[in-house]
């Protein structure tokens, strides 16, 4: 008997007692649904973390004024004395530093000829783009001369560009930011959302302009520190140990900021990539644990399937005897019951997947996380369900196949 025919008669057998089939499938349904939700959450977190790592770069260090505790929480960040441009050039002298830029940001009320838009203006040096791995897709980035001269030029992030120039002709136009006329010389590549856990911020909603121009004309200077910058971003040379670079930067900044030995740093050197990796490892462990729990429920479901298949074999002993009498081999009977178990579990798997899909969608909505249901997850969930059917269906099927034809026929 061909597998197709076996599948048809299996489906008939299952639909002849739908309630029992459904109850039997329940374990599989729950198992598959949870495997799917767990894997999707895990995959989603992983993808998000990978995207973050690639967007910040693995060898970028971030200097912020103010101390930071180990958990990465900012304690009064920004209240400490800000950095200045002398710090930037001092860091630029270091052998392991590939590029360095200072940044300064503030709120920007941008007005184009067509509309207005409230966004963030970010001041940076000409190295800003390479440090952040953030090229212009249209136009050009600003030069060091323009930074020195405080030129009123800027690049727009995609979101800012679209909102200020709905017709898409931003390049070469003028906008006014907090009343300052600025020429658009470029459009930046799309970066997408940042951060996780629903705290995402649209990083494309930004105006990037020369540091000095932003300080002098848009955000204003600092009362105590001239030529101040709020953050410093350092691109460490390829092949240089980032952790070591982190330590060396801390030593130099302690000297420059005259921190007494033993006193707490009044700044922090943050390795975002490293923090993200640590978070990734935690997320990985968590999703492994959850997937394992889900797998346990699949096994419990499998035991339920085995139980009901044994009942079914007993109930249908006469039928088995008859099938043998008209010429079914043991293998035919084995196949019939095995296919029945696999169909039962696969059907349960499909229902579980539908429920899992809803679960993943709900999670994505609530947590504002990306909804990630990859073909691999679907294949894993369905494959797991079918395997459970195969493994737990084998024993009852073999029992059916080994029945003695005459005893089976006489059974009542």
């Amino acid at each position: 008997m061909k597998v197709g025919l076996a599948a048809t008669s299996a489906a008939e057998a299952l639909f002849s007692n739908p309630l029992r089939s459904l109850l039997t499938m329940l374990g599989i349904i729950i198992g598959v649904a949870s495997v799917m939700v767990m894997m999707s959450i895990g995959e989603g977190a992983k993808a998000q973390i990978e995207a973050q790592i690639s967007s910040v770069g693995t060898n970028v260090l971030n200097l912020q004024p103010g101390s930071m505790n180990r958990g990465g929480r900012n304690h009064g960040g920004g209240s400490a004395r800000p950095f200045n441009e002398a710090d930037i050039s001092a860091i630029g002298q270091l052998s392991f530093v590939e590029e360095v830029t200072g940044t300064l940001s503030g709120q920007a009320n941008a007005v184009s000829e067509e509309t207005n838009w409230t966004t963030t203006i970010q001041g940076g040096t000409s190295s800003f783009f390479s440090v952040n791995n953030w090229p212009a897709v249209e136009g050009r980035i600003f030069t060091e001369q323009e930074v020195q001269g405080g030129a009123a030029v800027a690049l727009l992030g995609k979101t800012a560009a679209t909102n200020l120039f709905p017709r898409g002709d931003a390049l070469g136009q003028r906008i006014r930011v907090n009343g300052v006329p600025i020429e658009i010389i470029g459009i930046l590549e799309t970066k997408g959302q940042s951060g996780g856990g629903g705290m995402g911020r649209d990083r494309d909603d930004i105006i990037v302009a020369p540091l000095s121009m932003v300080r002098n004309r848009v955000t204003g200077g600092n009362r105590w520190v001239s030529r101040h910058v709020s953050n410093i971003q350092v691109l460490v040379q390829d092949g240089y140990d980032v952790i070591e670079a982190q330590d060396e930067l801390a030593t130099i900044m302690r000297e420059r900021r005259r921190v007494e030995p033993g006193a707490q740093d009044n700044f922090s050197v943050i390795n975002f990539a490293d923090m993200i990796k640590q978070r990734a490892a935690v997320a990985e462990n968590m999703s492994m644990l959850l997937a394992f729990t889900a797998a346990v429920s699949l096994i419990v479901g499998g035991v339920g399937v085995m139980n009901i298949m044994l009942v079914s074999v007993t109930e249908r002993t006469r039928e088995i005897g008859l099938r043998m009498a008209v010429g079914a081999r043991g293998g035919d009977i084995l196949l019939q019951f095995l296919v029945e178990a696999v169909v039962l579990c696969t059907l349960g798997g499909l229902i579980g997947m539908a429920i899992g899909w809803v679960g993943v969608y709900a999670y994505a909505q609530i947590a504002a996380a990306p909804m990630l249901v990859s073909p691999i997850i679907i294949a894993t969930a369905l494959g797991a369900a079918a395997s459970v059917g195969l493994i737990f269906g084998f024993f009852p099927a073999r029992r059916a196949a080994q029945l003695d034809p005459i005893q089976a026929l006489r059974y009542d």
Partner: protein, 239 residues
Amino acid sequence: MTTTQAIISCRNLTKVYRMGDQEVRALDGVDLDIHEGEFVAIMGPSGSGKSSLMNLIGALDRPTSGEMWINGRALSEMSRDELADLRNETLGFVFQQFNLLARQDAFQNVRLPLRYARKDIGDMDARAKECLELVGLGTRMDHRPMQLSGGQQQRVAIARALSNRPRILLADEPTGALDSKTTVEIMHLMQDLNRQGITVVVITHENEVAEYARRQIHFRDGKIETDSAHPELKRASGG
């Protein structure tokens, strides 16, 4: 008596059942030859061994000792799968309780043996339809057993037995669950099939049923008591 001519041949066939610590000799050294095209009734009171003989001839059970041949092949040398194939290709069964699959309609029931056929048998559906028409149920193909009368159910069972074009039809009390009018119909059908060349073996304890057969064999205590084809035998077992 030679084994080559007979389609069913038994030599010194013995079947012993164990019931607790008692041994029951259901068949006790039976020698029997049934030739192609015969219509044989096997009779005897319950416990005489006729059902045990039926199970052995039907390749559903194995003897305790002795040998039997069907179609020239010794059953003792055949594996479980080979016996299944033999049942599928050479034998057709009709049971007292019909043994139809309740969830499937007449057509699907008749098609069942074809699904287990190892050889290519062409259009299964046409074959099943043909068999149902042969037993006069061409218009009831989509009826389930519950929707059919006892006689009709037994006709479906006969159609099922015929679907693989068997050379031997084995019927175990085929009219046991039927009224006398239906019994006549079923036995006439058996006679028709026999005329078409199928060897028919009917097990029964009713004389009226046995009279349709051309040869009657009586069993008692696991042995052949009388055989109408061999009137010289009287409680002989050696032949």
